[in-house]
Subunit: 381 residues, 2 copies
């Protein structure tokens, strides 16, 4: 078990009616907020109304920044930074899924910086400061509501890159499972795939594999994600399953899921980011395609041990091959694609995807060359 | 799944050589510290030397407050508060196990208060402020290093009471598993019992039992505690097992272990505190006696469901009765007493213990009368 530091200062307000607490919490950070959201689903599910009312009641004036895309783009981030600066916003409030929260984080960092916000994503500059961030989560998936990272796509350069800083932990995140009751099946499924990817990417790339406690936690969270999703797809109105799914997804990328493993690699994410940067598919859909292929590669290169252990604990399978099959069966069952063609991506695109992926792979220090990435993608044909 | 708030701001520095980081971390809080420790084991295992050197190198002057007892007592807390006030200490540093950390927390609160520190334990006053707290943990068990509570014994009134406040979260806790390598078998075993008690008290008293994610986490941590302890007792020099045990015990009472359960009761702790207040036995030993008796009572009153679920996931047992037997077998195997007589406590003492326990049971709002407590203790004969 390797040395680690763990510090997660985000305050979580979890449960029914939580949105009403946004205003009182945010009031501690000032009087002017940039309010970031997406395509308007929060207007249908009542979150927009409840959040706006709570902010107004607590004397907070809002500059709206709607229109965040599912894969949030740099131009829109830059526009948000401008708005925040011009309106002298003292905080950024996000209401939506991981994309909205990621964009809010990028804006919060950009608003406290004199250069171009993309500098943080290319490594040209580090994030030294950021406006306080408050979030209302409406889609369990990315874990962004309780971590310090964000992912933004530069449409011009076709780069989907990440940035992180302890300044980006949301100060408060409000998780009300009732806001997720009307989520479409696809989004529920993709959220589950994303949470499982956060759990497995660390587990299968751990530099140190003798970490009883973290292995147990990862396996437990994976079982919880799978069981909760199964219940939700049977009965979308199952509040307790929605709640377990929401908290499981948060815990799947809040830092706990990889402590003690030493170096871990997010290779699946690095490759998937290219799929969604080039084809604008849902992150969870891309991961369902990439992960089984990546696991097959890991089985060839590092042996069956970890796949066997995970599969035994989570699926009740016996061999590494059966574990990979169980993942594929699960993804198919919940409605996610598991091959490139199912997402409309031809095998002939593999060289282009691999070339694009090398950007993040190098930036994240992953020891894979382009040929290896092509080999992995070929397993997803 | 019930509503909850989760916020745990303690920074954890985990791993080999961590003690050297005490001084740089503490320096952010000032130049004068009260240094709290126990009977001198930290002088044998090198922690005292390393911590003192790190503090001195970072310009921190120390007032020592040694001699904390395994069940820390109020008079010694009061003496610490006096020292901290007289020497104008800006922080409290604890090096030791849960008792030392608990006393340091009580002193930190008392030093920022004009009345008697015992007021916080009887409910006469709430903790509004406290000096910053830094800890170096040397005994995995209580979880005090990453939570906001503390337990102190008033020897005069024979009351072992608790206090809590968000101001009592340690600012930084340093967990170096190497400092636990020389722990006696008994302390390793009692630590494991304590961690298991923190996990099971919530699990078995949950007001809401449809919480997939927390059930999974509790079961995972219990398996980790049991597996780690088994390896440690076979090979006390097994670093990775020591490390997993240390982190498991911390996570077993940092708040995660009961979120969503709604009301949980620490009935086993309430009864055990009387055993150790009256007989000064180790907390873990007392818990190993009380818990199986409490589980037998719960089986009679609330049915087999939770015991069956936990046992199936942790011990591979089938019935609730088998789960209780598995706990008893485990406690015996690791060297903990499971009956009052084994700790030298006669059955004739039960009325006196039950009477004492009613103090905490009322203070914590547990709906048990004295007769019920006597019935539970009778099952431990």
């Amino acid at each position: 078990m390797r040395n680690f530091t763990f510090h997660n200062p985000t305050r979580i307000i979890f449960g029914k009616g939580g949105v009403a607490r946004l205003g009182p919490e945010a009031a501690a950070a000032g009087k002017k907020a940039l309010f970031v959201y997406g395509g308007g689903s929060i207007k249908k599910n009542g979150v927009y109304g409840a959040a706006s009312a709570s902010l107004a009641e607590n004397g907070i004036t809002v500059t709206e920044h709607p229109g965040v895309k599912p894969n949030p783009v740099l131009d829109h981030v830059r526009a948000g930074v401008e708005k925040a600066k011009i309106n002298k916003c003292e905080m950024v409030i996000a209401a939506g899924g991981g994309s909205v929260i990621d964009e809010a984080k990028a804006i919060a960092a950009g608003a406290a910086y004199n250069g171009d916000v993309w500098d943080f994503f290319t490594g040209k500059a580090g994030i030294k400061d950021a406006l306080p961030i408050f979030t209302v989560l409406t889609l369990p998936a990315t874990g962004s509501e309780m971590n310090s990272g964000c992912v933004i796509t530069n449409e011009a350069s076709k780069q989907k890159f990440s940035a992180g800083s302890s300044r980006l932990f949301p100060r408060v995140s409000i998780l009300d499972p009732e806001t997720t009751m009307t989520l479409p099946e696809k989004q529920t499924a993709y959220g589950a795939v994303d949470a499982l990817s956060h759990l497995t990417e660390g587990y299968f790339s751990a530099a140190d594999t003798d970490v009883i406690v973290t292995d147990e936690l990862v396996q437990a969270l994976a079982r919880s994600v799978i069981a909760s999703t199964g219940r939700i797809l049977k009965d979308p109105g199952d509040y307790n399953a929605r709640a377990s799914m929401m908290w499981s997804a948060t815990l799947s990328l809040n830092g706990l899921q990889s402590v003690g493993y030493g170096g871990v690699s997010f290779t699946g994410h690095a490759i998937e980011h290219s799929l969604s940067a080039l084809y604008d598919i849902a992150h969870g859909a891309g991961l369902a395609i990439v992960l089984p292929a990546l696991f097959k590669r890991q089985l060839e290169k590092t042996g069956p041990g970890r796949l066997e252990k995970f599969g035994g604990a989570v699926f009740g399978t016996k061999t590494a091959g059966e574990t990979i099959e169980a993942f594929e069966r699960l993804f198919k069952k919940i409605g996610a694609p598991i091959r490139l063609q199912e997402a409309g991506i031809p095998a002939s695109a593999i060289p282009k995807i691999a070339e694009n992926a090398m950007g993040l792979i190098k930036l994240w220090g992953i020891n894979y060359d382009r040929k290896t990435v092509e080999e992995i993608l070929t397993k997803a044909v």
